[in-house]
Amino acid sequence: MSYFAYTTGEPVKDTKAPDGPVAERWDRRRFEAKLVNPANRRKHTVIVVGTGLAGGSAGATLAEQGYRVVQFCYQDSPRRAHSIAAQGGINAAKNYRNDGDSVHRLFYDTVKGGDFRARESNVHRLAQISVEIIDQCVAQGVPFAREYGGLLDTRSFGGVQVSRTFYARGQTGQQLLLGAYQALSRQIAAGNVEMHPRTEMLDLIVVDGRARGIVARDLITGRISTHFADAVVLATGGYGNVFYLSTNAMNSNATAVWRAHRRGAYFANPCFTQIHPTCIPRTGDHQSKLTLMSESLRNDGRIWVPKAKGDRRPAAEIPEDERDYYLERIYPSFGNLVPRDIASRAAKNVCDEGRGVGPGGQGVYLDFADAIRRMGRRAVEEKYGNLFDMYARITAEDPYETPMRIYPAVHYTMGGLWVDYDLQTTVPGLFAIGEANFSDHGANRLGASALMQGLADGYFVLPSTINDYLARHPSSEPLDDTHPVVAEALAETEDRISLLLAVDGDRTPDSFHRELGELMWEFCGMARSEEGLRKALERIPQIREEFWRRIKVPGTGEEFNQSLEKANRIVDYLELAELMCLDALHRSESCGGHFREESQTADGEAARKDEEFSYVAAWEFRGAGGRTQGEHGTGTGDAPVLHKEDLVFDYVHPTQRSYA
């Protein structure tokens, strides 16, 4: 059964954001929140799932405060979470450059960059905390780039006109993550964090309306176990791998958030996905993932395509006056540094016109010839060396000699579990932080803001707000596997795995994942239309039905079984994809990364419809709880219910974004 229909429920009323001047709200919330006496913190257990920037920093900080933390990651070590791959940098309103930056400007840029679909209170808090993050990371020994005088260096990123991005060559995510990992390691050694690597969360346990634990699978032995706590924090990242090809790690997945959604957590703005403009184009059907080239390259690289359609000459043979530096032409004031959604769409447009370069015409040039002439090859190497090496390694082309070829690819998901100002989901005791929640980026995230948000949530926001919840629930009923709710969740997880193994069909997990991904890229990718989305909504249930009939998973559940892990994640993609398309269909406006062909301005820019859609779409699951039907029929059950959270803009007034 598919759903084109949905019902609209009660609007979301309480976001817990305090009133009053936006700059004072965070202070007020912290003051009004209840505290847990340090001596009592030991009595509380908090489960943290994920060890990326958000999870790693949250686990370490909660343990430092005295809570007992039980933490999980699917990787063999918490140091490998995919935050590690973030290249470009982290924003902070330090104004070290004296270039007019301020907390208010970072707040303004982020709300505007998100195309006015984020909550002002949250974004302002993020901008305030940004400055503390840099202090914290420097104290941990994160080796940020420095000037000769020993002070921190910064650079510019898309969508802004100040230089507020701190960086560690092209490996900022790695260095920040290792900082969090090291803080976490210190707490593991101190016995304050019980770390479970190679363990994947497969379900959420909700008892008497409160999140009380998780069902997890040990990926080495296959053993399925339960873990209980007073609160559960999901820091499990985004769901970009629904698209099969993305810049996410191969094993990044949506299972934790989707299972939490099935257990009652609303899913907000699932259609808000970010297509990053500068990725290395795909080379063939064997492609397993896409690699990003940092947005920081747009500081010095110039993007162009030939002026003439079908111009197949090598770049070097195309004279200057036959080149179209289209971003500089269309957006003279921001030029190559327009926000990601705009740069991606512009690339798609010129390729659709038949002016794309490289195999299949699916690429545009990112050219450093001018930068090398201006700064010298040495300086370019110093700034971007590792990125150039990576590009050369993958493409066997030398970007110092010939321009890079780039094309947009799925990179980040702004949507995620709905959370209030405290980062709590609609399931009491369940918190979502980092990319796993929907909160701060609206319909488009600005570059170098993901690291900022992950660390703001993990180091500073959650450790303050979770106190309030724990203080209000000083004791929890002890649980074990015989509790009916726990036993049911366990049985459902075990059944799902047995079902996957029992089908013994004739198609591999990857073949389904690829099929779903291609469908999503075509109809729910860079441009979306009612017609296309309806097609996708018809097709997804068919793929799902076929999946449960033809999937082949070798081996057993009681062993290290990577095919089983993969198939189990695809089950959830096949359900989440449908909600993404429904959300995209219902939001008949364009905003940020969500571009509806029916809603554009005369010159092809995204046209928002503020009167109709100035809200967060929070979807409630109305299906069969934890049971995935499998041979008992497929689908997610009843159509979901839409709850709207109206967005109020007191400080940054919605206008048509202009970067011209």
């Binding site: 370490a60 070290y96 420095r146 000037e147 070798p554």
Partner: protein, 248 residues
């Protein structure tokens, strides 16, 4: 191209292992080495055989998960991670041996997957700066000379893949351990724990069963991030200094 693969197969940590031979066809030179293995695994699944287990995640050369010994070299013939090795480094008709990291401190989990948790325990012993959240001074309070910052960064680049251990005839983890010590010990923020850090991390490294260094230099040759061999000498110097001060 068509290749002949000889792959280490081992059901689990306790089972004996052996090399198994597979033929793969239709390999494009643009594929990464892991995409070539994906192709093999797709065929194995359809044939009802157990696919080859291997660790991998980011496939961008930064997470450090991938870990294959290819024709006797950790991460294969190019100086990069396995995921960034492309099939253009091989010829049609080649026979390629694929094995897991071999080291006493890295027991095999299954096939090409090994247990590298010993690395985590070395970091837990002191590979951090104690700076609880909220306690940090303003970032510009302590300028760091660019040369020191660059030195720290150069060592902080380590991805913890373990190629250094796999390449070393002694199964030594000294390059890995020294990278973290040098990253943190050169920074003013790392100074208060400078001595305990090196003493505790080196002690844990020894307890975990890694071998000693005999200056073979294979580690630095295999390192995909170019952690330099003198890193080990610098660690030894730190260790001597700490021993002399015997501050614990």
């Amino acid at each position: 191209m068509k290749l002949n693969l000889r792959v280490w197969r081992q059901k689990n940590a306790d089972a004996p292992g052996d090399m198994a031979t597979y033929e793969v066809d239709g390999i494009s030179s643009d594929m990464s080495f892991l995409e070539m293995l994906d192709t093999l695994n797709e065929e194995l699944i359809l044939r009802g055989e157990d696919p080859v287990a291997f660790d991998h995640d980011c496939r961008e050369g930064i997470c450090g998960a991938c870990s294959l010994v290819i024709n006797g070299d950790a991460h294969g013939p190019e100086r990069t991670t396995t995921c960034q090795l492309h099939m253009r480094s091989f010829q049609d008709g080649d026979t390629i041996d694929v094995e897991p990291w071999r080291a006493a401190a890295f027991p095999v989990v299954k096939d090409l997957v090994v247990d590298r948790s010993a690395f985590d325990r070395i970091i837990q012993a002191g590979g951090y700066i104690s700076a609880p959240t909220g306690s940090a001074p303003e970032a510009h309070a302590t300028p760091v000379p660019k040369a020191d910052a660059d030195f720290a960064f150069e060592h902080a680049e380590c991805i913890g893949c373990g190629a250094c251990v796999a390449a070393c005839p002694n199964g030594s983890a000294m390059l890995f351990t020294s990278a973290k010590i040098n990253h943190l010990n050169v920074l003013p923020q790392g100074a208060p724990e400078r001595e305990t850090r090196v003493l505790d991390m080196v002690a844990t490294m020894d307890e975990e069963g890694f071998g000693g260094c005999t200056l073979t230099g294979e580690c630095a040759t295999a390192c995909p991030k170019g952690i330099p061999l003198p890193s080990i000498a610098a660690m030894n110097k730190e260790w001597l200094r700490a021993t002399r001060k015997s501050r614990r």
